[in-house]
Symmetry: C2
Subunit: 880 residues, 2 copies
């Protein structure tokens, strides 16, 4: 029989794939002789089996192994499940291969029932404690396992407190709690038509199954999508003997990091609460004490914990994030994991670890999540402005960065407003008492997050740091009225139309809009990037359409422009009238006249780009969008334009009508425009070549790269290339100068990938346009698919958005086929990618593995790409 | 040095690829000892070299070989090029591998100049003849080689005739013609700024190059597209000693078929004109005499010709189409080729040739162009109606079939009107004096063609027969005023809004609309189809959405339904209100209620289909189009519907807005609907299964095939299949009956083809939906691409419409990959095709070669597919 259940002491601490992160580390700590409450792990394989083989039921052989392991724990502890004298209680916690904090379910105090609660009371001599545990268990179990709402239970508590005339939970007596338990059980029976389960074995299986199920709850699916975690991994379940941080004033619980997760400072960092269970700290309901003050509370325990923390950091050679409980003065370790940290902290910790001789530069580069760098690159408030501005409140500096936006009071609305706000002109600040895992999408959508409760390890803080979103947490001055949709700070009330500005680095909150300035990158960042550049094989270019973007990208380390979308230049105010004249032209001559006026402007653009890139390659893509994008659609706008252009309304309306397309993404665009209007390609060629000649006259050595878009058939490419070559030749003859230039194509149409071997014969380079290639390969319109993709995530058909993360199975197959076929006929062909995927780490790894020469991404993602490329090459070194 | 030029007597008559059809057959006739004027062939390789290697110039080595061959001809004839005493004259004619009548250029009388014309006059003792030849040559050469318009020359002739007070060309004297020549030459010089070429060698190279160039003229490109002739073949050029049919009353020229090209009757069939050149017969300017009357004209020549005709038919074992010239009583053969024929003639000739022992049934099946069968299947006028209807005119029965439509006076307008008339509700009858190759697109667009001039071998007649379009030619009663856009027949005038009805089988023209009835298929057709069915490996199914279509297809030999588009059922008047209710439903319950009302209707549809197909497989595709297709778009229509549906206008408008898609072809459609609304798939499954159970209860054995559309990812397929299986199981349990059914998918998304290996694991069949697959693989919207495809044809980027003829390179590669991958994991998987390509012979051949199990096409194309499938298997027999 396959083994699905392992005691902590049996499990291999290196097998996170099988035991999950939490389980593997508990096993490892056990082996290291640390005070870990005994327990066992139900493997991830049991979870995948649950879904794939057992029809979402726990198979008998798994249940059998669970109870066998339980018996061993009972024997070891001398306690017994459900016993009236010496009851054995356990916690049941999820633990996936990758840490997914708060995403899945946890149940504490399992094993309590009407009988064992008495045992616990006797054993601890503290009936109030025992009945409090029992009522917590009933609440938690009902919610997590059976879905009986926790809201109703909270109402019942509220009602009882009112009756008893008390304010806090802790003021309820043991008798009150017994009364409460009876009411809870009654409510449970009313809803579920069955008694609350008294059999601890039944409770245990129910809890294990609930954890398995929670692997596929909506927030876990969203989290996985955002963090590239495959659904196929499954979660392990950890069943562990309970220890109690709420067994009185000598008990407590806390979390701590071996270094500061915000700054990277090498100093134990964390917080604890006495007489509390772990959830109390994480949920941020009570504001906890700094870890250092634990020394005053219990010096011995503090020293022991510091020792353990040091040992763990040295053992894992990485900053650790630990959970502990003190039960009646005795320390227990409940968890350790590599600590989530801010980008600033991440680069500092990585560089420090190298300085301390704990890791090599290669390892250090792999310690940083590339996407995190975003946070370092994000703008900050202008220091001068801030100096002169009074803050209206101050909270905890939960996640660094600056954010400014209109107030939004719930996650759903934040998501909605962000969706409607395509250009990110109206960012929102999510303002909540505290956040919970259900809020995750709204948090992703928000520019910044402000909470009135919770600490540095509260949900809001942990999640915001992970996302690189600015967050000020636990800001007590903030009084929220969710119903009225107002927030009162310092006596002044703000509504949904008001702006707030948050500084996540200082924890300060400002009223109104505050301008931001670019982030200053820490020195350690440059050290890391220097290492990364040494370790990577892929070149990193940028997608930039303007000299400003190009300069930004160059400063971020871009080694060229991989995609300059020339149409973006045409939308400028001084260009669009000319492009419109070109569109309404009735003859080639009229069209050429309008194009001639665009020529000097376009040439100026290219000179600007060449100069900013200082001789690095610049790839210029020829006009791509359908021409109707340059014209208005509505009659009123057409009338205005007709007037401006001094042409007949009817005429212009006819042109707009004639250009209308049912499916513009598959319409008259890309090189299809150059086939029908070769004069456009000729003008663009002239601009590219003349600009290069001028720059070269000033001593530069520009070798421009012309990219022909949307090729699907080699003859299309050759036709446009002939226009380019003939024009380039003419320009060079006119100017009496010869320059080199390259002509290549986007591979963005499936047919281009399928016939790449013939296209490569005359192409100098291929750039995979994976946005369009994804559209066509899936038959998914980028604009329309979001409407139905939610159903796809919900039904587990997709785990991630194929427009964000490259579909390696389908689209990737085309990339691979085209790369191979292209290289086979043209060994010198340059291969790159310039879709959005060029800035996505997992897609970059794919590009590296498939032997591409470069990736091209938006300026702010250049550092991410550099780091991801290095990690890819360290993982799978490319042969030189 | 490679050989590019061959004398007729050197060339191998079996190498049509190298010598073209005309050249190869001239060589063959020469070898057979027939009276062929000597000549030589410039090979197709010289043509492809001209385009591919020599930069559209005749290479020196080719010119050298031409002149060497010319010298041999001169020596043989004792005449000399450009000689003042005994001048040598040649014709220069194109000749491609496949016959392309009238598509490319011809030049006669080449070698004439100011000097040799005198020699010709002396030699023939007929100065008028000589100068007439010269002026014809100047006209033809100027037009064809240098593009100096023939219109102007015609005007000059008109002017001269007026001056001289004559009506006909033949009334002009030798002196008049000399005057004319001088004016022609003057005009030429004015336009071309150079003298009309006097050097016969220069004339010859110019003519050869013009023929090469004409390979890529627009009408040739269109003809090739319509006839699946690759542009890479090139044309050969035939240079032949001139013989003159216009050397007086003992000279003449004619064309003849060994059998009747309309009926297949075994009887020499053709026509001739005395004192005329070949162009006079073909152009249809004078109406020629039946071939049989040649016996009276010159019995000896007639007998000789009949002998030659018989020999040629026996030699080629096929009906021959021959051109001949009689020069002063001596017969010369100028051409023989397999005769183009009507479908009725084709089946009769094929069956007769088998009866006569000339060919085997296998060969007979290959003698028929599958697309021709269309003509046999097209409707005819109701004989009873016709009996009672007076015809208003009678012309030649140029191409059989019946047609009825509004009058249209030019090809361009015919094309335009047909393009606007998507549903073919307003067909047009193209009415012209005579047609010319430039009219080809308009002729394709017309329902029928009526000409007032020209014979059975005129352009209109030949082309219409080839296209299977009804045509009445040479109808002298028809008086056309092109300017006024009227036609007067028997004193009555008809305009663009009037209807005409044509009977191409009788040559009769009727005023107004006449109803048509289905064609009766000739007995020979059944013989051919019986043979075809014996020889083919591919099954032929049909795309049919209604019992009526299914019945039609079944009668045409369909062996099942390969595609039933269920949405077409939803557009019916009794269905669409219900589908709309489903769309506006706000809850699953409301949706299910609307679907429940559709269920019995849908079930009835399926019962109808099952019954018509008599147990043959029926593949039912689930709902495919985006839901907005069922709703109106304009406010006014929305208001009407809102009123009908008793819902708020705003509400409905909101729904319409929410359903709007930017690129609906890549939007929320196909299985994506079933993923978001599984209840739709459940209803359709229930209808399919319940219908089958009911039919099986009546003794049938229906195994329905459910086809899930637009799958791109295996999990989509599995998700919908799970819904299908669960519903089917429920229905079978309810009814207490078990039936078999199959679940498969369309492969129409590139990603489905790329990942077919995983999809095939659970799929019973794949049906290649090559319409969508072509769209996505090319990134071409079917609706929008016609706008730019013209540029593609013009620039030689495409040779055919990829939506009509399967793109074997790109789309075909996906079909092949998916077939291989599917079969590799599921040896029993059924593979078919149900796109438009399923009825296209070249695509059917591809499907055969790639091992598909069946093709599915529209009912009228079923016979075509059966024949094409047989031909494919005879060409490349499939291993059993």
């Amino acid at each position: 029989m396959k083994k699905y259940v392992y005691l902590f002491k049996e499990a291999d601490g290196s097998r996170k794939d099988l035991f999950g992160g939490k389980g593997a580390n508990l096993a490892e700590m056990t082996k290291l002789g640390m005070p870990v409450p005994p327990g066992f792990i139900i493997t991830t394989k049991a979870c995948t089996k649950y879904y794939a083989e057992d029809g979402n039921k726990i198979a008998p052989e798994v249940a059998e192994q669970i109870f066998k392991a339980l018996k061993k724990l009972e024997a070891e502890s001398g306690k017994k499940f459900g016993d009236s004298q010496n009851p054995f209680l356990v916690s049941v916690r999820s633990g996936a291969r990758a840490s997914m904090p708060g995403m899945m379910d946890t149940i504490l105090n399992l094993g309590l029932n009407d009988v064992s609660v008495k045992g616990l009371a006797t054993l601890t001599g503290n009936p109030r404690f025992a009945y409090d545990c029992y009522r917590r268990f009933i609440q938690m179990y009902s919610d997590v396992v059976t879905g009986v709402g926790k809201k109703e239970f909270e109402e019942i508590i509220g009602k009882l407190k009112k009756e008893k005339g008390v304010e806090l939970d802790v003021q309820l007596t043991a008798e009150d709690l017994q009364e409460l338990i009876a009411v809870f059980k009654k409510h449970y029976k009313e809803v579920k038509k069955t008694d609350f389960p008294q059999d601890p074995n039944e409770q245990l299986l129910g809890a294990v199954e609930a954890v398995f199920r929670s692997w596929n709850n909506e927030r876990a699916i969203i989290y996985r999508r955002d963090n590239n975690i495959p659904g196929s991994w499954g979660t392990a379940v950890n069943v562990q003997s309970m220890v109690f941080g709420n067994m009185g004033e000598t008990s407590g619980t806390g979390v701590a990091f071996t270094r500061n997760p915000s700054t990277g400072e090498k100093k134990l960092y964390g917080e604890y609460l006495m007489n509390a269970q772990g959830e109390d700290v994480v949920a941020g309901i009570r504001t906890p004490n700094p870890i250092a003050t634990l020394e005053n509370q219990n010096e011995e325990v503090y020293k022991q914990f510091v020792n353990i923390a040091t040992t763990l950091e040295n053992h894992y050679r990485n900053m650790q994030d630990m959970e502990f409980t003190i039960e009646r003065g005795k320390l227990y370790m409940l968890q350790t994991r590599n600590g989530k940290r801010t980008a600033a902290s991440a680069v500092k910790v990585a560089v420090d670890l190298v300085k301390e001789g704990m890791v090599t530069p290669e390892e250090a580069v792999c310690l940083i999540e590339p996407k995190q760098l975003d946070a370092l690159l994000h703008p900050q408030f202008d220091a001068d402005v801030i100096k002169k501005t009074e803050h209206i409140a101050k909270g905890l500096e939960a996640s660094p960065g600056a954010a400014c936006g209109k107030i939004c009071f719930n996650a759903e609305e934040a998501k909605k407003r962000a969706n409607e706000d395509k250009d990110n002109k109206n960012p929102v600040i999510l303002v909540r008492q505290e956040t919970s895992p259900e809020d995750i999408e709204g948090m992703m959508a928000a520019e910044g997050i402000l909470t009135s409760r919770g600490g540095m390890t509260s949900h809001a803080a942990v999640v915001a740091r992970g996302m690189g979103t600015c967050c000020v947490a636990g800001c007590k001055e903030v009084i929220i009225d969710e119903e009225a949709k107002t927030v009162t700070i310092g006596g002044k009330t703000y509504g949904s139309e008001d702006y707030l500005s948050l500084d996540g680095t200082t924890g300060k909150v400002y009223a109104g809009k505050i301008a931001t300035v670019d982030a200053k990158l820490p020195e350690d960042y440059y050290t890391i990037m220097e290492w990364a550049d040494k370790f990577r094989a892929l070149k990193v270019r940028t997608n930039a359409d303007t000299p400003v973007d190009a300069a930004k990208a160059f400063s971020f380390g871009a080694e060229g422009i991989g995609l300059c979308r020339t149409e973006h230049m045409f939308f400028a105010e001084d260009r669009i009238p000319r492009i419109r004249e070109m569109i309404v032209a009735k003859t080639t001559e009229q069209r050429e006249k309008a194009l001639a006026e665009l020529l000097p402007l376009q040439k100026g653009d290219f000179i600007g780009l060449y100069k900013e890139m200082q001789g690095c390659p610049v790839t210029i893509r020829f006009l791509d969008p359908p021409l109707h994008e340059f014209l208005p659609k509505e009659d009123a706008d057409i009338a205005v334009l007709a007037n401006e252009m001094k042409i007949d309304f009817k005429d212009l309306k006819e042109t707009v009508k004639a250009l209308h397309e049912d499916n513009p993404m598959m319409g008259h665009r890309g090189c299809r425009l150059a086939v029908t209007y070769p004069e456009i390609a000729a003008m663009q060629t002239r601009a590219v070549i003349e600009a290069a000649i001028e720059c070269n006259a000033e001593g530069m050595n520009i070798i421009p790269e012309i990219m022909i878009p949307l090729v699907g058939e080699v003859k299309e490419f050759n036709f446009v290339k002939d226009v380019v070559d003939a024009t380039a030749k003419a320009v060079m003859e006119e100017k009496g100068v010869t320059i080199q230039y390259k002509v290549g194509t986007m591979i963005e149409i499936p047919r281009a990938a399928l016939t790449a071997g013939t296209i490569a014969k005359k192409a100098d380079f291929f750039s995979f346009g994976t946005n369009d290639l994804t559209q066509m390969t899936f038959g998914f319109s980028r604009d329309d698919s979001p409407k139905f993709l939610d159903s796809y995530y919900k039904n587990g058909i997709f785990e991630s958005d194929p427009f964000a993360k490259l579909d390696q199975t389908g689209v990737g197959k085309l990339v691979e086929m085209a790369s191979k076929a292209g290289r086979a006929v043209n060994a010198n062909i340059k291969l790159g990618i310039c879709g959005e995927h060029g800035g996505d780490p997992s897609s970059i790894e794919f590009c590296h593995n498939k032997g591409l020469d470069y990736v091209s991404c938006s300026p702010f993602r250049v550092p991410i790409a550099r780091l991801a490329a290095a990690q890819a090459n360290l993982k799978n070194p490319r042969k030189k």
